[in-house]
Amino acid sequence: MWTIDRRAGVPENKSDVLQGTLDLMVLKTLESMGPLHGYGLARRIEQVSGDTVALNQGTIYPALLRLEQRGWVKAEWGISETGRRAKFYSLTRSGRKQIGQETENWERIAATMARFLAPAK
């Protein structure tokens, strides 16, 4: 069977990826790393987050499709470093522009949340 319980093997202290944050992670990763295939992206996100995020690697694909539909990333078939045919994703111009806006959004949310969580003075 291909199907495996999503939750299997996820340690308790890992948190689910917040809705919408995955998109920004993908964009940011592509910005710093250049074109990447899906697996590479997933691994990179896991590494950067220090394995604190419970990312089902597969969820990256609907996210990539979403970004592609918006015109922020584009995909091309290419050959991986190990010689496997794979789809490589890269940022488009409007995707690059979008990063600034998304980052701003996220910082605003984070700052707001931080204010809530800060110990009362």
């Binding site: 089902n56 969820t59 918006r70």
Partner: protein
């Protein structure tokens, strides 16, 4: 603009599914392969590496599903799947599908056809710019009792109002009449003309496509005769010759210069002089437009001369109420300041509404009736759908158990209704094209704007909307029912037993009751219309139309002149004399007669009687219809003479004698004996007093609906330009008509004969609108009755088929056949009686509104109401008896073995 890009990419994905699926699979495989490779480099064996890779990836199937949802348009795909499924299921029960589609097609086709007429006649604005600012302007005569009569316009009053009003932008005054035209020098024909003030086209917002419109100089005394042709007129008289402008057209024998041609869209609206007052010529399509040159009478007469129609254009932003109030005030002020002996008001009606005013009630009634038929058909379909939903309960239960959401269950059933409705709607729209033609063939020719009736875009939109509404009406209940299915119970239960729940039975009975109620209303309305029509044609008319043939002759040629010429007077008189003599010579003729107005063409030449011995205020003078006749008229029409004597040949020397009808005698002379009394002169431009010589019976000669106050005067005193010759003969009209035409044209080949037919035909045509209404309503009533019958039958038959087992047990236990028949019939009695009761109450409300459309028929006519209810009950009993007998003939052994 993101969403557009997203939508486009999603739509594109719909068509490349296999390719995209393969791509995704390869991409996911690559992911797993890459992960395995990396895991192996970390020292895992093949098996471990694969497991870890899959583990980190998550559920492949879920990801694929999420991806697909993100990629395409899942709703659309789901809908497509539902539709495919529904179509497959419907093809499995073709009988049901065909019945449903056919029922809907007929219903929607009928409603759409009637709506095409309603749309063209009542709703569609005229094709003039700013049509909502165009209003018809009339004067009002306010009687002593406060009663207000709409009357046509007086020229002086019109000019004054036009000058003083601040709410009216511009207004035009006009007359419509028939003129004789003979472009090839052949026998002339009568065509409709509009004689209007020169600003007519400016008020309407119409420009000639060739040549020019009128200018003020065209309407001055002594100006050259000019004419503007309608597009049809241009085609008819000049075969569309582009050089027609500048050429000459002889109208009534007089040369007229063509100055312009109008575009093909310009159709002159049919406006009545006033309600109840109609000229036959108004019904003719206007082919020619001439400038109106006001005569001395127009410029001077403040009283009388109410002979004109007017159209005004309101200033932008002015409401109808404001304009009405302003004109009313101006008129009343003028009445006072000019010391007029009558009180005048003014009334504006929107043009579209005014043109349709005579028929709107009847058309809305037909529309309501056909709508009710569709509603009844929808209830039938709802019943069928309900039965299908009940039969499919176990299927629904399985779906629910497998996790179908409530929304999905409802959607599936609604989709079925929608598919049926769209198929039925499409077929119905196709039928509507035929239906419109059928209606047009049946419709009375004087229905306004008939030539505009067609299945147009708004009609198609209406039809599509109607189909969807129908689907919701008949699909909602069964769809909601699938929500109530408890999977466990339905799966456990035997299918048929689950079906016959108390609840389902009640819903079906209620629907039958609703159907019966609608049918009762429709049947009552139909039978009232039939009663009204039969009363209209069968009552005593006061004249005998059988064996009479009628020829109307229009003397529109220069030698017959206009009002002033003395020579013309002799010419007309001599034409009438010679024609009477010639017609008398025809073989088999019993008698011939002459009258000035073709019978059954409405009230015309309306004047008032004033008595020198008994003067009253002008507004209290009785209104009468003047007819110029010969001595043969009363005997030829077989109108009984009540007192005094008929006009005689000896009156020719002193023709100032009048015959009056009983109603005139009553209204003008009260209880006195009118014979021998004097009245003021009624002859145009002749004040010679007249003597009443006799009283004749009332007739319905202007129209079968009413008798009119008549005054008959010998044609020797005045001979009008329109003469109607009547020939009474035992020979058939078909044989007489060519002989009469030949005789008339032998006397003068240049007179026009617009009407030549039997009097019976003329009578029939005068009630064409009533016949049309009765006929169409009968069709709808019959359809409703049939549908209701099927409804009652269907519900009972279905219930009997579900209860076979129960009936088997009853018979086995010794129940008699008649008891079983009674059992089933009782089941029908409740909804039918309930429906009849509700229907009667609804009829009470609806009939208030129908009352005005009926002719001398009380809305609670016992025969109509009782007959309708009885007819329905008999039909329902017939529909119920078949399933009841089937129940009684259940074979107990087979019924018990059935499961």
């Amino acid at each position: 603009m993101h969403w557009i890009r997203i939508l486009l990419s999603r739509c594109a994905a719909l068509f490349r599914r296999p390719q995209l699926d393969a791509d995704l699979d390869e991409e996911l495989c690559a992911h797993i392969d890459l992960a395995i490779e990396e895991n192996r480099t970390r020292g895992m064996n093949e098996q471990q590496a694969r497991t870890a890779a899959l583990c980190a990836f998550g559920g492949v199937t879920q990801i694929r599903e999420t991806y697909r949802v993100q990629r395409g348009l899942p709703r659309l795909e789901e809908a497509a799947r539902d539709i495919r499924y529904v179509v497959r299921r419907l093809r499995k029960s073709p009988g049901f599908a065909l019945t449903a589609i056919l029922t809907l097609a007929l219903g929607i086709g009928a409603v759409t056809s009637v709506f095409s007429v309603v749309n063209a006649v009542l709703l569609r604005p005229f094709a003039f710019p700013g049509p909502d600012r165009l209003v018809v302007m009339r004067e009002i005569q306010i009687e002593a009792g406060g009663e207000r009569w709409l009357i046509p316009d007086n020229y002086r009053h019109f000019m004054r109002l036009k000058k003083d009003s601040k709410t009216i932008e511009d207004a035009t005054i006009f007359q419509q009449r028939g003129m004789s035209i003979s472009p090839t020098g052949d026998h002339p024909r009568i065509v409709g003309t509009v004689t209007a003030s020169p600003n007519l086209f400016a008020v309407l917002g119409v420009q000639p496509v060739l040549g020019r419109a009128f200018v003020n100089g065209d309407a001055e005394k002594g100006a050259a005769n000019v004419v503007v042709l309608s597009y049809e007129g241009w085609q008819t008289f000049f075969a569309g010759d582009p050089k027609a402008v500048g050429q000459t057209l002889r109208i009534g024998g007089e040369p007229n210069t063509v100055i312009g041609v109008l575009g093909p869209g310009m159709r002159f609206p049919q406006i009545a002089l006033a309600p109840k007052i109609a000229f036959q010529e108004a019904a003719l399509d206007a082919l020619l437009y001439q400038p109106f040159v006001p005569g001395d009478r127009d410029l001077s007469a403040d009283m009388g001369n109410f002979n004109y129609k007017a159209i005004a254009r309101l200033k932008p932003g002015v409401t109808l109420a404001q304009a009405n109030a302003e004109l009313e005030e101006l008129q009343q002020a003028y009445t006072l300041s000019a010391h007029l002996p009558m009180h005048l008001g003014a009334a504006l009606t929107p043009l579209t509404q005014d043109v349709a005013s005579g028929v709107s009630g009847a058309l809305w009634l037909l529309f309501a009736a056909v709508g009710a038929v569709l509603l009844i058909a929808c209830v039938n379909l709802a019943n069928l759908q309900l039965a299908r939903a009940v039969n499919a309960e176990s299927e629904t239960a399985v779906r629910a158990a497998l996790g179908a959401s409530r929304g999905q269950l409802v959607r599936l059933r609604l989709t079925e209704s929608l598919v049926l409705a769209i198929a039925g709607g499409a077929a119905g729209t196709a039928l509507a094209f035929g239906g419109v033609r059928l209606l047009l063939a049946m419709a009375p020719a004087d229905l306004p704007r008939l030539d505009e009736v067609r299945v147009s875009l708004p009609v198609l939109v209406f039809s599509a909307g109607l189909s969807i509404a129908a689907a919701i009406v008949f699909g909602m209940l069964p769809a909601l029912r699938s929500l109530r299915v408890a999977p466990q119970a339905a799966l456990k239960a035997n299918q048929t037993r689950a079906a016959n729940t108390q609840q389902g039975q009640r819903t079906r009975s209620l629907m039958v009751a609703a159907q019966v109620a609608c049918t009762v209303v429709l049947l009552i309305v139909t039978s009232l219309a039939l009663r009204s029509f039969s009363r209209l044609v069968s009552q005593n008319r006061g004249f005998d139309s059988s064996h009479v043939t009628l020829a109307q002759v229009d003397l529109f040629a220069p030698q017959y002149g206009d009002f002033s010429a003395a020579a013309a007077k002799t010419a007309k008189l001599s034409f009438a004399d010679r024609t009477l003599a010639a017609l008398n010579q025809l073989p088999g003729v019993e008698s011939v007669a002459l009258t000035s107005v073709t019978p059954l063409t409405g009230e015309t030449w309306v004047d008032t009687i004033s008595r020198p011995d008994h003067p009253v205020r002008p507004e209290q003078e009785p209104r009468i219809n003047v007819r110029w006749v010969d001595p043969g008229y009363i005997p030829t029409m077989r109108i009984p003479l009540i007192s005094g004597r008929n006009i005689a040949a000896s009156d020719r020397a002193n023709p100032y004698v009048v015959l009056i009808s009983e109603r005139t005698a009553r209204e003008a002379f009260g209880g006195e004996d009118p014979v021998g009394k004097k009245i003021d002169g009624l002859v145009p431009d002749d004040k010679h007093p007249m003597t009443v010589i006799g009283v004749v019976a009332d007739t319905r000669i202007n129209g079968l609906r009413n008798t009119a106050a008549m005054v008959y005067i010998p044609y020797w005193a005045f001979t009008p330009w329109t003469l109607s010759f009547l020939v009474r003969s035992s020979r058939p009209s078909d044989a007489l008509i060519p002989e009469m035409r030949r005789a008339l044209w032998q006397i003068d080949p240049q007179v026009a004969i617009p009407t030549l037919k039997s009097m019976d035909e003329q009578v029939n045509e005068s009630v064409a609108a009533d016949r049309f209404q009765a006929l169409v309503l009968s069709g709808f009533g019959a359809a409703a009755l049939l549908l209701a019958l099927l409804g009652v039958y269907g519900v009972l038959a279905y219930s009997v088929s579900l209860r076979r087992r129960e009936f088997g047990i009853r018979i086995a236990l010794g129940s008699g056949k008649s008891a079983l028949v009674g059992l089933v019939l009782r089941q029908a009695v409740q909804p039918v009686l309930l429906g009849t009761g509700v229907g009667l109450v609804m009829a009470l409300i609806a009939l208030r509104w129908v009352r005005s459309l009926l002719y001398e028929t009380p809305v609670m006519d016992p025969l109509a109401v009782g007959g309708s209810v009885l007819l329905l009950l008999v039909a329902a009993a017939l529909a119920a008896i078949v399933p009841a007998r089937r129940a009684a003939s259940t074979d107990p052994m087979r019924a018990l073995r059935m499961e």
